[in-house]
Subunit: 354 residues, 2 copies
């Protein structure tokens, strides 16, 4: 779960509302439990009342330049999977947090916690993955750190990436900028990353040609901002907790409703099949190469065209709209007339996904 | 080990000189093995020929402002120890890397990898330690991330901190700025942190009143820069690998020699006693609240007075000087006339020290 204290104003410690006696996997899953941990423990102690717990990056104004700052730890298991690896994920994840903060990624720092005894070839493969992903994303790795822990710890390695970007001065994305009537744009098919990891672990018996969608979304965001910067009101990359959790955060923070058109949301057959087998909702599955944007209705067509014009953005679609009612709620309407409430992720059906 | 690619120019992969077949604890200890890993694997792939592997922070020029960027992962065992804890260390460690890069710390990002099942009280204690240390250091925690891994991993928690600071425009610290005759200033007694951790683990039978020196060194650096900014040629915080490793890096990078006056280096009795018992050199033991500065001879007196004027800097001393010869070497001269070569740390006598 991302924690961002744009403006800190520390609340008294008596306001700690987090009462769970111990930390469970779900507290790291990006859903409801993560939000309770951040809002009930981290925010009162570190950030205070004005904290925006799910923002993807913090901003820092410096001599007139707005910087975006973000950091994420990666603990994905296995280290390598179809379509990517922990190193590639660590670069793209941080690049994407900057991108959806309307920031051009400038520099990354990468730190490793490595398990004693892993083959040098394993580490080298991830350093190469980082170098390649950084090159593709047009961002420089300017520094880092390495720690080694004893055998049996860290599952090979954990990677933490911090990133700095320059915020596009034409934009002021925030939940508070979202208005009823705004259109919800999604960049492509959902669930590929989460289900790929699940299959790579061999936890379920399912043969499928599926790859993680890990990639930089910045080229798509850049094209979108060039076409409609002032009309882009909110962006988010739906990683842990999926599209459902990201849009529930938006609904909650904006106090508005989001109504999705179920058929407009692209889900590959393999993802849909695995979800049905496991009783999961594709809207809860993590993505690592998609983003959501909320745009003013007048700009929606241009925004969609801009994203679709970028290689990899061809499947972008308008998947729903923001409404006055039902406030703080996400609904999905099916073509045949049914409507269901789409909740945040609860629990952690797919641990260690990123 | 800190990796910093001030100017990247990726070398061909064929230049990988790191031949160790697997990663060992020593590769994370900050000494010779760490340097080989960084120079032989990370640098050719990520940074290239001009990488300064042991610099404490990278710099980024942005619209005329020079930013310092740094990140460190903390895996110290135990989580709490006399004088501090992992959370406090994570803040001060990153603040100090910025400080010795002549940068005023502005913002921190903190990420956690938490072991499933730890008591919330354990996490809360570290979040409080982070909040308190950040307040004392005058820096804001603007964001972060939380991941949870299964029981048996991560020893409670690992903490990674990234920091951004603004570089003092009056300074250009670099090994290349150091000249023969320059004086070496040390802020206080050495080895407190490393030996405190060792004792806290109960690995040796020794009763001693010793506390980690973890603290922000920025107030001392600020006072030093106010008094002698242009005459400060190099700074470093001697953490993993200790004063010996930091000064060997300087000797190597500047191609000059460093001659220390053994008696001028303050070492508490408890630290000296533990080192004698274990056959360790206090110059190799990690510090978390000290810094080294190399200053022009004419400014040495003012520099020393400036550091000593700050609470906690009273024990600062000039501990040696830079000489033309013996090039790339650190010597320690004792009052009775003996002189010994002080090498970099080899191996990892005290693992998981930070």
């Amino acid at each position: 779960m991302k924690t961002t204290a744009a403006q800190a104003s520390a609340a008294p410690a008596s306001q700690l509302r987090f009462r769970d006696p111990q930390i469970e996997m779900a507290h790291g899953a990006g859903g409801k439990a993560s939000r309770r941990l951040v809002e009930g423990l981290f925010a009162p102690l570190l950030g205070g009342a004005l904290l925006e717990p799910l923002a993807d990056a913090a901003t820092l104004e410096l001599d007139g330049t707005r910087l975006a700052l973000t950091a994420d730890s990666f603990v994905v298991r296995p280290l390598r999977f179809p379509g990517g690896s922990i190193g590639e994920l660590a670069v793209n994840g941080t690049v994407n947090d900057l991108a959806v903060s309307a920031a051009r990624p400038l520099a990354l720092l990468v730190t490793f916690v490595i398990e004693e005894g892993i083959a040098t070839a394993t580490l080298e493969a991830e350093v190469r993955a980082i170098a390649d992903a950084a090159r593709r994303a047009g961002v420089e790795v300017v520094g880092g750190d390495t720690k080694v822990v004893e055998r049996g710890n860290a599952d090979g390695m954990y990677v933490t990436t911090a990133g700095v970007g320059r915020v596009d001065p034409r934009t002021r994305c925030a939940a508070s900028a979202v208005r009823p009537g705004d259109q919800v744009l999604l960049s492509g098919p959902i669930g590929d990353h989460g289900i790929t990891i699940l299959l790579a672990r061999g936890d379920i018996e399912l043969e499928a040609e599926l790859r993680s969608d890990t990639r930089s979304v910045y080229p798509m965001v850049e094209s979108l901002l060039a076409a409609a910067a002032a009309d882009v009101h909110w962006m988010r990359d739906p990683t842990r907790g999926g599209v459902a959790t990201a849009l529930n955060e938006l609904a909650r923070d904006s106090r508005l409703g989001v109504v999705l058109v179920e058929e407009a949301i692209s889900v590959r057959d393999a993802v849909r099949g695995a979800c049905e087998l496991l009783g999961l909702d594709p809207l809860h599955i993590a993505n690592e190469g998609q983003f959501l944007a909320v745009v003013a209705p007048a700009a929606a067509e241009a925004a969609l065209a801009a994203v679709r014009s970028v290689p990899g953005g061809e499947a972008a679609a308008i998947i729903g709209e923001v409404r006055e009612q039902p406030a703080r709620t996400v609904l999905a309407a099916a073509a045949y007339g049914g409507t269901r409430v789409v909740d945040m992720l609860v629990g952690d059906p797919l641990p260690r996904i990123c």
